[in-house]
């Protein structure tokens, strides 16, 4: 039997390999190399608008995310890792959204992306996120297509959508105000999807659409549109106009004194869009997912936490956009903690179908994440201007709250085709 002699070279090579293997796989739990990986801060990319139509809402959304992250960091972060954030302005522009998402994932190595107000931007970001397998929270955009035709395995949608709000409002409005409806629709994805949902509901409840006006994004003069509304003389105007366009429209409707007649149904009213305006700008009935004066446990304490966190913010009380940013981020971080990993598939599986108690979310009904569409099913509130309120910030008068299953967007369930787990790239940072 021949025996190979142990040379100095082979001894050195084997020792080196043994040492290298032991560095990573030795019995010790906390080597320097292992520590460097596990203690690496968890970076989250904030994809909210800081300029353009939704700059103000984007700032509010971001404040919500940052408060949730701050609370986790005060308790040691998540999985023992401190959470860091990086924000790049998505400029309320889909092309910028794509670019920002690509950079945050490939260059900044963010574990998750959070934030959106514009549905066009959210859709653009989610396409990039799906390509890489990065989990993305669409916190505040509310086009039905976001959890319908444009849904993705990595995307979770936290706001109520146009169909949810229309479901809550249309039947009551037909009974109370009349059957002849006119649609005033922002000419982009959210407006079109919301208008389609409203049209379908109006038809199904025996109403009629007498006209529809498409409003280009960036419209500041609504005179010709309001002349058309007067000429069509509908019973109800259902408006799906958002951001700065909506602010200009409200101001001009108020000047004409048209807020009372016809009746106005404004699909959703984001708090940053109306905060501080005179109440006559807040005409009609509109939807929201949360209000700072809800008489529910935890709400007052949440408002105090907001005020302590942001003492210098012009908006003295939190609104629905802040709320969505906060609860979405909090739930994701809880999910990561429970999953014990940042692995995308593990976290996605944990979030799908996840139940969230009414008390925890400070709403009237329990909520859950629909595993088919990835949209949070939650209580929808209808509100109007709160005339004669004791406090200037108490601008909304909540008219009703509707349980999630009553306002569910069933069309989204048919339209949404999530990519399979196998077709979603594994992602872990």
């Amino acid at each position: 039997m021949s025996q190979k002699p142990i040379t100095r070279r082979s001894l050195l090579t084997s020792s080196g390999m043994l040492l290298a293997g032991a560095t990573f796989m030795g019995p010790w739990a906390h080597t320097r190399v292992y520590a460097a990986m596990s203690d690496k801060p968890l970076k989250i990319g904030l994809t909210s608008d800081a300029s353009g139509q939704y700059a103000n809402s984007g700032a509010s959304d971001r404040r919500g995310m940052l408060m949730a992250i701050d609370e986790f960091n005060q308790n040691g972060g998540v999985l023992g890792r401190k959470i860091e954030t990086i924000h790049i302005d998505t400029e309320t522009t889909p092309a910028t959204g794509s670019r920002v998402a690509e950079r945050l994932i490939t260059r900044e190595e963010c574990a998750f992306l959070i934030g959106a107000v514009s549905s066009g931007v959210a859709n653009a970001i989610s396409q990039v996120a799906q390509k890489h397998g990065t989990i993305y929270l669409n916190t505040n955009s509310s086009s039905p297509s976001e959890s319908g035709a444009d849904c993705h395995r990595v995307k979770f949608v936290w706001d109520g959508n146009g169909t949810n709000f229309a479901n809550a409002a249309v039947r009551n409005a037909i009974d109370s105000f009349g059957k002849n409806w006119m649609l005033v629709t922002n000419d982009y994805v959210w407006g079109h999807d919301t208008s389609a949902a409203t049209r379908k509901l109006v038809d199904s409840y025996g109403g009629a659409i007498v006209d529809e006006v498409l409003v280009p994004q960036g419209t500041r003069d609504f005179s010709s549109i309001l002349v058309k509304v007067q000429q069509a003389a509908p019973d109800v105007v259902a408006a799906a106009v958002g951001g700065d366009d909506q602010k200009a429209m409200r101001q001009q409707v108020a000047q004409l004194g048209m807020g009372e007649k016809p009746a106005w149904i404004n699909n959703q009213q984001d708090w940053p869009d109306v905060y501080g305006l005179p109440l006559d700008n807040l005409f009609g009935v509109f939807g929201t997912t949360w209000y700072w004066k809800l008489d529910l446990p935890g709400v007052a304490e949440f408002v105090k936490r907001y005020q302590a966190q942001y003492p210098d913010t012009a908006m003295r009380v939190p609104g629905n956009v802040f709320y969505n940013g906060y609860v979405a981020t909090r739930e994701l971080l809880r999910g990561v903690e429970e999953a014990g990993t940042t692995n995308n598939i593990a976290v996605i599986k944990l979030l799908e179908g996840r139940k969230m108690s009414a008390e925890d979310r400070m709403q009237h009904n329990d909520a859950w994440i629909d595993p088919v569409t990835h949209q949070v099913q939650q209580t929808i509130y209808l509100a109007t201007a709160n005339e004669g309120a004791a406090e200037p910030d108490d601008m909304f008068k909540i008219l009703s709250h509707t349980a999630p299953d009553t306002v569910a967007d069933t069309a989204a369930q048919d339209a949404c085709k999530l990519e399979s787990y196998e077709d979603t790239p594994t992602y872990e940072v």
């Binding site: 000419d187 005179s223 010709s224």
Partner: protein, 305 residues
């Protein structure tokens, strides 16, 4: 559909566009500078007016209360005078910064005014906050009025009337005063103006101040229609620039006629195909420039030198 309300609407809109473009036109004509800070000066005018109408005097509660007791019409009138003067001062400061760019490629002035626009917008955000604000108005120009069966905003009619008066006053200034003659001469041949013993530096500063004051005035008049937020100015620069190019750079009446045409295009398109209303102004620009490259009333432009 009755056409008359839409024509009236287009005309009022055109007058408002003219008001927006006046200050921009003056600065382009005389200074050969495309002032990208025009929108921020527009916004600043409205915020200064907010200060004058409803000041927040921390520590002077009694003074603030007494001032708030003055009639709103008086405070609004004061704002129409004081706020544009404030913007003029800011504009003159900007002109001082611009001096180093004179005689260099136009890009330098363009970049400087773009930078100034960003700084001013951020300054507004810091001082007045990022949220939507409301400019209080006298009751006489608030509310609605009925005209040929259609409800009109009294304020919109007031704003259009105001714009008409402003256009007339600027025309009077340019055509009927010796200062106007200097402005026009300065636009045509600034070296000759200097040779005639006129202090060109002071003259340019005053023209820039006047242009900035007109931008501020337009801001005060427009924000009750558009709403008041720090970035409201970005809605101004593109229409103003488009109107100047459409009318012919340096032409006063060109700018006025172009404003009316743009107003009518947007108003009438809004009546029949609202989704095309914003793009209609660009289509109009393409149409005119295809046949008249220097705009409607344009002669050889100073920017071509």
């Amino acid at each position: 559909m009755t056409l008359l309300p839409h024509i009236l609407n287009g005309l009022t809109l055109g007058l408002l566009f003219a008001l927006i473009a006046l200050g921009f036109m003056l600065i382009v004509s005389v200074m050969e500078v495309i002032n990208l800070a025009h929108g921020s000066l527009f916004a600043l005018g409205a915020y200064f007016a907010l200060w004058v109408i409803a000041p927040e005097l921390a520590g002077f509660a009694e003074v603030a209360e007494a001032y708030a007791g003055l009639p709103i019409a008086l405070r609004y009138g004061l704002a129409l005078v004081i706020a544009p003067l404030g913007v003029a001062a800011v504009g003159m400061g900007l002109e001082v910064c611009l001096r180093r760019t004179y005689g260099k490629a136009p890009l330098y002035g363009l970049l400087l005014t773009f930078g100034a626009a960003l700084v001013l917008e951020e300054l507004i955000r810091t001082v007045w906050g990022p949220t939507e604000q409301h400019l209080p108005l006298p009751d006489a120009i608030n509310g609605a009025t009925l005209f040929v069966g259609i409800i009109y905003s009294k304020y919109k009619l007031y704003a259009a009337g105001f714009a008409l008066v402003a256009v007339f006053c600027v025309w009077l200034f340019l055509e009927k005063t010796p200062y106007g003659a200097i402005v026009k001469a300065g636009a045509h041949d600034s070296e000759m103006v200097r040779a005639l013993g006129i202090d060109l530096g002071r003259f340019r500063m005053l023209v820039f101040g006047l242009g900035a004051a007109l931008a501020g005035l337009a801001g005060i008049v427009m924000v009750p229609i558009w709403g008041l937020r720090p970035h409201v100015g970005i809605d101004v620069v593109i229409p103003a620039f488009l109107i100047i190019v459409l009318g012919g750079v340096g032409s006063f009446w060109g700018a006025v006629v172009a404003s009316i045409l743009v107003g009518l295009a947007v108003g009438l398109t809004g009546a029949y195909a609202t989704e095309w209303s914003l793009i209609s102004m660009y289509l109009l620009l393409i149409l005119v420039l295809t046949f008249r490259a220097r705009g409607l009333f344009g002669r050889k432009s100073i920017l071509e030198n």
